[in-house]
């Protein structure tokens, strides 16, 4: 066998072994990844089922009757009445430019301090 043929044979053998080994490793890694993907899919499915349960539970906890009861018991809140919803212009403190109205400024014991304190508190 000539030198050239030996070289060629060696080259082909090396290449074949490289490709065979590479393919084997590749197949193995793909299998690992497929198993990982299957696990991920299974976990997603379980999570979706769990999310459905949690959503239903959340909705159950948010029933208006329960919230109203909690708001009343824990926060002393009641339904807003129409007369409680007022226009900005009815307030003595101008929220937009941060100044009080002249009516309040003229009143030394006016509501300015009270309103400011209220705003600060909130």
């Amino acid at each position: 066998m000539g030198k050239f043929k030996m070289t060629m044979f060696g080259l082909w053998l090396t290449l074949t072994l490289m490709v065979a080994l590479g393919s084997s490793v590749l197949k193995n890694r793909v299998q690992v990844l497929e198993r990982k993907l299957a696990t991920i899919n299974s976990n997603i499915q379980d999570d979706i089922a769990q999310i459905h349960v949690l959503k239903a539970e959340w909705s159950h906890y948010n029933t208006p009757d329960r919230l109203r009861k909690l708001a009343y018991e824990q926060l002393s809140l009641e339904n807003a009445k129409p007369e409680q919803i007022i226009n900005y212009s009815a307030l003595h403190f101008n929220y937009e430019d941060g100044r009080t109205s002249s009516a309040v400024r003229s009143d030394k014991k006016g509501l300015t301090t009270l309103v400011k304190a209220e705003v600060k508190k909130n």
Binding site: W12, L15, V25, R29, Q45, S59, P64, A80, I85, H92
Partner: protein, 586 residues
């Protein structure tokens, strides 16, 4: 240009490489003919080596790349996974196939939960009695006898129990009995129980819609898991239902219904009919709680129809808001004697006719307009047909007289609300058109609905009607619904109940239809009380002004702030409220 191809004579003693025996003479190209026979072997060898080198190079590149990818760190797997855009890679099965239903704020009002059903392959069960005993221990709600009966049957698929909880499933698994299997399924849950019973309806054990929206939208709900957005509002629905239940209790009524509708687009914000039922429970429900009075209950609305009578009279141009009608004496139409139940009122304008709810005045108005225009107008506001496009299967077709039976007497009785029966849904849809500027919009429960609108009255008639209806609330039968700041407009109606084709004068259905605010109505509300009883508080009256109207006031007071309807309060009055609040704190 051409090629002269000739085949050399085959010499069997010689070895010819492929193509060697084909000689190409390019006589037409070159003046000199020549053969390549002497170079053939060399050419083939060269070509073979070039080809081999090419393949070897390709093989080398492939080998290096594969080795690099597999043995080295040629590809960052995690990065590659994160770059995956093809969703098909993630082939997970959504355990729930029926889409959720959400209210207009995105709150879940119907959802499905993945569960399992327990079934038995009785061919594999050797001792049914023993298995029945064990199962009875896990499921005390099912008797031993029932389990034994099922397990004694021969079959590969016999349901033992549906919708097991995870704990129950684990308990059955722990029994370790061969032949007991689980089937994956889903069950429909209505977290708010009765609240949306008549809107949503319910599903059967196979999770198929059998009533309400679940039935009407069954295909949509099962074909996509994308949630279905409705126009109803959880908080408002709850408030209105509470008020209706309180009203039914207070007035000892047989039932009640209410619809709150956005007059600008026909969206139904709330739809309630009581009594109702809990769709979560798989038990047989009595007929009345299953009956959706709001969309299926056809009844004669009584004086509420005077709204449409006045609107069509003004629209015809034959009646003006300044006209006066003499209502001091009963009026006769053939054998029909029209009187006013509240006594004589003298000469009334159309506004007074609505305020006093005068039957005589209404009959005089329609006499000027005529039955043809009346019939045409009522047809234009869909009083002659079922509202098929509304997304509930429980709808009813109004009882609308045929043209031949639409005589003078019918024309007159219809003018004050007798002779045509319709549903609360029909009435509120038509009323919305009268007060919203004159456009009739199909009622809908779906947020993305694109129903077309049609003009039924002019802008001017609509404006006039709003002013007339405001007078009813300010100084008429609807004054108990006058909520400060919201300029409520409306009309009451009380009609004797029709039972087995005869009017029962001891039973009535009272209605109050309203809208707010008068200047630019945004919402319309109808409240219907079925057979309310008189009490001390109502001074013996059962008319709408004593029951449906105060209920409407409570509802409007509570829901108008939630609906972001701007209250039109006197600024000075508001300032005094603020002052008082701060001074009280001081």
């Amino acid at each position: 240009m051409g090629f002269n191809v000739s085949f050399s004579k085959r010499n069997n003693e010689n070895f010819y490489l492929p193509g060697q025996e084909i000689k190409i003479s390019r006589g037409t190209i070159s003046s000199k003919n020549y053969t390549t026979e002497s170079d053939n072997v060399m050419t083939c060898r060269t070509r073979t080596i070039v080809t081999l080198c090419f393949f070897a190079l390709a093989y080398l590149i492939l080998g290096i790349r594969v080795s690099y990818v597999c043995l080295g760190k040629g590809i960052n797997i995690d990065a590659a996974i994160s770059e995956v855009t093809d969703k098909d890679v993630f082939r997970f099965r959504n355990p729930v196939k029926r889409a959720d239903i959400l209210d207009r704020n995105g709150e879940i009002i119907a959802t499905s939960l993945p569960t399992v059903n327990l079934y038995a392959n009785t061919k594999q069960i050797k001792n049914p009695q023993d298995v029945a005993e064990k199962l009875n221990y896990v499921f005390p709600d099912i008797s031993y006898e029932e389990f034994e009966k099922k397990l004694s049957r021969r079959g590969a698929f016999i349901y033992l129990k549906r919708n097991l909880s995870p704990a129950q499933q684990m308990q059955v698994n722990n029994l370790g009995i061969p032949g007991l299997e689980f089937e994956n399924c889903e069950t429909r849950i209505y977290p708010h129980k009765n609240l949306f019973a008549h809107v949503l309806g319910k599903t059967n054990v196979d999770n198929e819609g059998i009533s309400g929206l679940e039935k009407y939208m069954n295909e949509r709900l099962t074909s996509s898991t994308k949630p279905l957005h409705l126009t109803v509002d959880l908080g408002i629905q709850n408030k209105i239902r509470d008020e209706l239940i309180a009203g039914v209790k207070q007035f000892n009524a047989e039932g009640a219904a209410a619809i709150l509708m956005n007059v600008k687009n026909g969206q139904v914000v709330s739809l309630i009919s009581v009594p109702d039922y809990d769709p979560n429970e798989n038990v047989k429900v009595a007929e009345r709680p299953m009956f959706n009075f709001a969309t299926k209950g056809i009844y004669e609305a009584g004086s509420v129809f005077k709204v449409f009578n006045t609107a069509l009279s003004l629209e015809s141009g034959k009646v003006k808001v300044t006209d006066r009608f003499d209502t001091s004496h009963p009026v006769y139409y053939g054998r029909l004697r029209v009187t006013d139940p509240h006594g004589s009122h003298g000469r009334l304008t159309p506004e007074d006719i609505l305020v006093e709810s005068s039957n005589i005045g209404s009959s005089l108005e329609i006499s000027l307009v005529g039955k043809k225009f009346q019939r045409k107008f009522l047809q234009s506001i869909n009083m002659d047909k079922a509202l098929d496009e509304f997304e509930l299967p429980e709808i009813a077709k109004p009882q609308f007289l045929s043209e031949s039976r639409w005589g003078e007497v019918s024309m007159v009785t219809i003018s004050y609300g007798y002779g045509i029966s319709s549903t609360p849904l029909h009435i509120i849809s038509a009323f919305s058109a009268v007060v919203n500027g004159g456009l009739y919009r199909q009622p809908t429960l779906l947020e993305d609905s694109k129903h077309k609108s049609k003009r039924v009255v002019s802008q001017q008639t609509s404006e006039s009607m709003r002013a007339l209806l405001r007078a009813v609330v300010v100084r008429g039968t609807g004054k108990r619904a006058n909520v400060d700041g919201y300029q409520v407009i409306g009309k009451t109606g009380t009609a004797d109940k029709l039972e087995n084709g005869r009017y029962n004068h001891k039973k009535s259905i009272s209605t109050f239809i309203s809208a707010f605010p008068e200047s630019d109505p945004k919402y319309a509300l109808i409240v219907v009380m079925d057979d309310p009883k008189a009490s001390k508080e109502t001074y013996g009256y059962t008319t709408a002004g004593w029951n449906a109207v105060p209920i409407s006031k409570n509802i409007i007071s509570a829901v108008a702030p939630q609906l972001n309807v701007k209250a039109d309060f006197d600024i000075e009055k508001q300032k005094s409220i603020v002052d008082a609040a701060y001074k009280a704190k001081k």
